[in-house]
Symmetry: C2
């Protein structure tokens, strides 16, 4: 080969290498195979195309490409109980074992009784006591180790699988599709920030620094041998729900997302704030309307208000008014879980 | 060429392409040209080499490569007064103009008098009132616009330059060198998080989501036309100083840094916590001992304790004991500012 030919040849190979390494952005085929054709799928494809194509009037520079996702009910199953709440209840026996005096104190006595009817009647105030006792007072490392052990062995009551497998395949595809197009994907959850951080990287490909959640304080101290460590404290720093989600994004990211995904009234402000930005913005709401394959608890089910859950008629109306796209699990999702056909 | 040879050839070219594109890590020449040869420079070079070389026992996976930097006194000049405090004082006339009743209320009356002796005697409590009046009560967008305008026009008293030019060239080189080797660089500052975020990207190449600082709350609300916005509130969420720096990193990053840089007692816990991690960790302290080119206020200056500033003898002793590297501005830095030879 002559020198010039060699250079050309090298360039071609380099291009090939970059195309195959640079990746999924250039991947052939449907990036959202678990979605049925329809308005929801089209909205996602169109949003990515118009915000990432050079020369598009809605082009978003890569550094500003932020997409935020609620977790419970948006990325994975939240019914009949948030996974973290299950964890807290199942943690109570260990807490009582460590502090036997709690066995005769409410609400721990009721939880230990195993009486489901009595447990169902516990108040919000009781729940706060249970959260404080099971989530605070230990080092952040001990908390992580305990919660991780539980997540590895606990099974959900319906599918008998690890909770971390109950993620929605169509949403996993959206996460990957956005990332392949330069978006950084964040979780913005009402759940505990450090709880979600334990598994978010493995389960969603979302690293700890991209998980924003409800957060309590920590306290710096030293072991007897002088090694520094942090203890989880009960003071609430960030209630990452409703307006708190927008406040949390300002605190933790300092940027307004271009796309946001939620499923409940707790996500309303995040979607409003996202959509209020300039240029092309995408706001989507997952509607749980599939009693067969998952659950149905949205406003379209003709259920009485008390059973509608957290996707209310008012939220549905705002979605229509503001141009948010409602995702129907039943109609828009071809598959829901990776473990089902 | 036979098929197998072609494959080998393609592999070699691909490797070459990756090496040249993968970057500055392999760049020729000195990555720290503003540093004199010495223990400090060697420590930085060795740290990067041992934590990024494949097969090294101290290899750190790219996702975990976090380096944190204090700002005031570590990345830029903090003497004689923190830039943000200058901003707050200079903002007082505008605040009094908007609320004329403050003109006769302390500490605003004293600030408005321009009497330097009286201003120097203001208490911490007075300062808190000035910070609250100048940093809260407006929308985050208005705050950003006002502070940006000030930063564009204000000049420091000694060099008569924009404050944002008073960054240390050797530290800018460290930031770039770490980033070229896959480290994400964070600012972890006692200064206001949203103040620093205004210029950190332009000045240090550090995006807003990688600035951790002292943070107050915000409150979500709507304009009359229904547009959502955030208002800066006076409640303190995070006092990002001393132990607060470690607590802030846990909250905002959720990872322990592999390298940390500071210059004062406010950075002690961040350096302790960094150094207490497994594997190779780098902890460095900038010592201000150059009265000619910058300022001298460290313990080595033979100054009385009251003049030693925030780099105390106790901190110096801990640095030696814990294996932190002390950077002497006088001896380790060939150049200090980009605008000086």
């Amino acid at each position: 080969m002559r020198a010039l030919t060699l250079v050309r040849y090298a360039r071609a190979l380099l291009l090939l290498a970059l195309l195959s390494f640079g990746g999924q952005a250039f991947a052939q085929g449907d990036p959202l195979p678990s979605w049925n054709e329809g308005a929801a799928k089209q909205a996602i494809l169109k949003f990515v195309e118009t915000t990432t194509m050079q020369g598009s009037p809605s082009f978003v520079p890569p550094a500003e490409r932020i997409a935020t996702f609620d977790q419970d009910g948006t990325l994975w199953v939240e019914h009949p109980m948030y996974t973290q709440i299950v964890y807290c209840f199942e943690r109570v026996p260990a807490v009582v074992k460590a502090k036997p005096e709690l066995a005769n104190v409410e609400p721990f006595k009721t939880v230990m009784s195993g009486n489901r009817e009595a447990i169902a009647k516990l108040t919000t105030n009781d729940l706060v006591k249970i959260l404080a006792a099971t989530l605070t007072g230990m080092s952040v490392d001990d908390f992580r180790a305990e919660a991780k052990k539980w997540l590895d062995t606990a099974r959900d009551p319906r599918w008998k699988r690890p909770f971390t497998e109950l993620t929605y395949l169509p949403m996993q595809e959206v996460l990957k599709y956005l990332r392949a197009n330069g978006y950084r994907t964040y979780i913005v959850t009402g759940g505990g920030q450090d709880f979600v951080r334990i598994y978010a990287d493995e389960v969603y490909g979302i690293p700890p620094e991209q998980v924003v959640g409800t957060a309590a304080g920590t306290k710096y101290g030293y072991t007897k041998s002088g090694k520094p460590f942090l203890t989880k404290e009960p003071n609430l720093l960030l209630n990452d729900n409703n307006a708190g989600k927008v406040e949390g994004m300002y605190l933790m990211i300092g940027r307004r997302p271009f796309a946001a995904f939620g499923n409940s009234t707790g996500d309303r402000q995040m979607l409003e704030y996202t959509k209020a930005g300039t240029g092309e913005r995408l706001a989507m709401l997952v509607l749980h309307d599939d009693a067969q394959r998952e659950y149905a608890y949205g406003p379209a089910q003709g259920l009485p208000a008390s059973k509608v859950g957290t996707f209310t008629q008012a939220l549905y109306n705002e979605a229509i008014k503001q141009g948010w796209i409602v995702i129907s699990m039943k109609n828009d999702w071809k598959r829901i879980f990776s473990f089902e056909p």
